[in-house]
């Protein structure tokens, strides 16, 4: 089973991927995704440490890094939004 995903990047992350709007990464969980992003695009690591939200098929995860990335899922990386 292929777990290669298209990961859509928000603007702040794109410079670290050569300006790409999205990149292809093979990962089974959010944790693995973040680890591979840090390895492949080291400039993203400080953002990941500060906090990145992951939208998987429209549901936004902020903290549950063990969450699986289903095949063919729509995945967006987004900034962690604060609240009032």
């Amino acid at each position: 089973m292929s777990n290669r995903h298209i990961i859509h990047l928000w603007g702040a992350l794109r410079p670290f991927a050569g300006g790409a709007l999205s990149i292809s990464v093979e990962a089974f969980t959010i944790r693995e995704l973040f680890r591979k992003l840090s390895e492949l695009h080291p400039g993203m690591e400080p953002h990941i440490k500060r906090g990145v939200a992951v939208s998987i098929d429209g549901k936004i995860y902020r903290d549950q890094w063990e969450t699986p990335l289903p095949p063919d899922a729509e995945i967006y990386l987004l900034p962690r939004v604060p609240g009032g």
């Binding site: 939208s55 098929d57 429209g58 549901k59 936004i60 995860y61 902020r62 604060p82 609240g83 009032g84």
Partner: protein, 754 residues
Amino acid sequence: MSVDSMNPDLVNKKFKIIGTRPPRPDGIDKVTGRARYGADFTMPGQLIGLVLRSPHAHALIEKIDTSKAEKLLGVKAVITSKDLPDLTGGDRGMFDILENCMARKKALYDGHAIAAVAAVDAATARKALKLIDVKYKVLPHVTDVDEALKPDSPVIHSHVFTEGIEPAPTKPSNWNKRAEYGHGDVDAGFREADVVISRSYKTEQTHQGYIEPHSVSASVSPDGMAEMWVCTQGHFVYRNQCATLLGLDANKLRVTASEIGGGFGGKTHVWAEPLALALSRKANRPVKLTMTRDEVFRCTGPTSSTSVDVKIGAKKDGTITAAYAELRYQGGAFPSNWAEFGAMTSWACYDLKNVKSVSKDAIVNRPKCAAYRAPSAPAAAFAIESTVDEVAKAIGMDPIDFRIKNAAKEGTKSSYGPVYGPIGIGPTLEAAKNHPHMKAPLGKNMGRGMACGFWFNFGGQTCVDVNITPDGNVNVAQGTIDVGGARAAIAMAVAEELGVAYENVRSVVADTSSLGHNDMTDGSRGTFSSSMAAVFAARNAITVLRNRAAKIWEIPVDEVEWKDGAAHAKGTHHGNRTPLSLKEIAAQAGNTGGPMAGHAEITADGAGVSFATHIADVETDPETGRSLVKRYTVIQDAGKALHPSYVEGQYQGGAAQGIGWALNEEYVYGKDGRLQNAGFLDYRIPVCSDLPFIDTQILEIANPHHPYGVRGVGETSIVPPLAALAIAVSNATGVRQTHLPMSPPRVLKSLKSK
């Protein structure tokens, strides 16, 4: 325990307690004065702390001489930034918090803390402040967001280079970040349009306006043990931040939260707390530090002032073909992301083929901005919704039908990226269209406006303990601050699960030494996440109760079920036993295994986005420019209203704050960069006599990621009012209102330009 393992989506309960309106547990204390707010704590040997603040908007601090103050009889400690060394380990965000709490080389805004004293009484502390000699070199300043972004603006931080632009800049500036969201081809979309309308908008800076000023009492012992009693939206986060800034172990700093007299995002940041701890550590005495109203305005987090350009293209059939916005927000004297969040929310209500939002975050010589209820969304919605209204009129379409035609729905690709699941914007619009308010006649000089709003909502780290008392009642310890009724809602959830009366359950906010970490009460997460944890903790308690009943009956636990507040034996062998009530099981706890409890520690993701539609009727006096709100209706999706009265209160509170933002409230800075109206006499929030009864309609479109279907409700209700009122005043006056607040002088000026 993971949320998914609790299988929340399969719960299909018929509620007995959820959805009812029991009395609030803090009600009597609050109306009789028993409730203890931040300033109500007093400790033996307590000193009074006061802060010396910069009178300049931007200045180098050349020298601070505290020697005279230190010699004053009754002064026990004087601190400057030297007493708060940088322990942040390269974390720029934490360093900004440190620098905001106490200026280091420069004063960055009027009111920036320069030094602090602790003395035996307030009079001595005030005298000591006057004895501190500070030599400043005044620097050029900038307080306006658009001015700050100009190339010739005085640069506030030499280390800030704009993020998000290519090529990377080689010179520092006040433009700390650019971001972009959207999809499609907006240029092509505008070419398809029959009508294109562009407008520019401004909003002035507002404060959350909570009635209770910040107050903290801190006590640091020589052995490194510390305690802090504080008014906050997140005592665990305050603990963690203060421990980092002061070099304390988090477990040695015990923080107890007081009742909270309003926060709305303004009590999510530490301000005076590290100073109180540093003073206490230096004086070796407890220190109480309570801000004045002047200080609250000058140095705690207001929201951004903004400048927004919007362009919308539409076909005559009502289809929006392209939407563009550039949003410029100032975040105060430190780098921020507020404009970016505005860009994310700006077009979220709509299903758009071609959409683009560009954000520019700016640094100015104003206090560091804090979140304010759905932060950044209201100003964006003001600009977008006002233009949506104008486009609808330009093509001759009813604005509500225009919105319904273009509303986002399940499956829509949101303007900030993801595809929506089940959402409530369409139903709120339909409810607005069918609401009697929309059909009510308007009088002379009156106008009606309606607008939509969006907010993300989120969950986060949350703990709840459910403890069964020996007499068979229930104590709940929660870690999220109760800002809007969470204690009642959580007690209701536990009562619902256990099958006991609400009156038998008491929920309290536990201190930081009593529970695991809990995130801040923000992002409309308090009730959403804590009620989820409470349900799971109660279910775990039920497992314990079934085990204890099995022991009492001497039967296998899988032959015991829990229903209606009692253990029931089942099966042919034991089914005829009389059920054991919670009280009967509790009475035998000592010899069935000891204390009985249920716990839950969760990360409550899956909050579900939130939408609202508001309707406002306004009467504007053409001679004075004064606008009065005559009728107001809030329609919002709550997922499931645990306690409908609290939900209505959240809707009404957000609307009231939005009305103040739209009509009156603004920070007024002089040419010297100093705040001119740091008090409630000159910064006018709406009072009861300014407002009609705010009508509410709760929609319940269940959130599939909460065991009861709950969505957060605390923030979205502040998003639409700015636009709804601006459209209403525009309709009342015949002049499009593009600058908030619509104070009488500003409205009169607009009428003269008619």
